[in-house]
């Protein structure tokens, strides 16, 4: 079998991407082999390299997709929030539910890969910070609206990002989604309490 229609080809591409994404999340970048991706996707080695020119590029593709999706969903949630405080809760909620974002873990691990293209590494490090500007904007808004006390917005943003990022990185295998959500909400509670005007 060979030469599918363009539509079928796109399905193949997505099947590979989906399998790769799951494996990268479960095992990290280095621990996932192209052979595993081949097996899991049901496609052939050649097909994978037809659609993606390297493991690095495949990973990058997934990261970009994930980032766009993350930002989109987050701004969607923002529409329902009437002030900065609610937006912070929205972000926390988003982090808690973000079973896709574990790609962040993989992307941090990626940086250490030997022989990796330095350009790609820098790009990925850069990309891994994508939620920061969003958080920063909300905090600036909160300060401007007198919801939060006057303070260094950049520092606070970095702080909140670390909290949520840190929460996401800890091994929560034995926590339910409800518990996860609770912890993230509590994080915002304490944080808000700490910066309240």
């Amino acid at each position: 079998m060979a030469r599918r229609t363009a539509e079928e080809a796109e399905q193949t591409r997505q099947a590979i991407a989906a399998a790769a994404k799951q494996l990268f999340i479960q095992q990290g970048y280095q621990a996932t082999s192209m052979e595993q991706i081949r097996e899991s996707s049901g496609m052939s080695k050649g097909s994978i390299y037809y659609h993606f020119k390297s493991k690095e590029q495949l990973f990058m593709y997934l990261l970009e997709l994930n980032m766009v999706d993350w930002i989109y969903k987050c701004t969607e949630r923002f529409k329902l929030a009437s002030n900065a405080t609610e937006k912070l809760y929205a972000i926390a909620h988003h982090f808690a539910h973000d079973f896709e974002n574990p790609l962040m873990q993989a992307s941090m691990e990626f940086s250490g890969t030997k022989g990796a293209d330095p350009e790609v590494i820098e790009k990925i490090v850069e990309m891994s910070k994508f939620p920061l500007p969003l958080i920063l904007d909300v905090i600036k808004e909160g300060i401007q609206q007198k919801e939060f006390a006057e303070d260094d917005p950049e520092g606070l943003a970095l702080l909140l990002y670390s909290v949520l990022g840190g929460l996401g990185m800890i091994q929560f295998d034995n926590y339910s989604l409800e518990e996860l959500e609770f912890i993230h909400r509590k994080a915002i509670d304490v944080f808000l309490n700490g910066i309240r005007a």
Copy 2:
């Protein structure tokens, strides 16, 4: 050259451990090869495997050493603190200065390794949470002494651990030690403000 005195052998062992530690911190577990450790330590493959029976065991050895050292230093700092609040600052200070603790990153990455002994994985996951009990104790103390508001200590401990852990995991390549310390101090400021009695 061969057969050194027991003392020299111990030096060899430590040289290997030191080289490995640095590499694991810089590159992570999987990205660090035994060949690199050999090159960096200046010893031979055979010597490495004479002292450590596998890469896994070498890593475990470093983790345990690191954990013991961490806890010791931390309890030392606690002696200078007169209340729970100061102890929290001490912990933050310790996290900020902890250029050794990045092993935590490597240990989280390790979990994903294929073919890794499940027993070892569980042991490492367990070990990676070692600062939690310490933090928990301090928070309990703070609540009991009415420094902090009545609240769920476990939740707060997990939260603070995530903050500090998260701060440690973010790529801070372009931050100075002063800035690092400042950020960690700020984290405690906000946290304390958020839980103050």
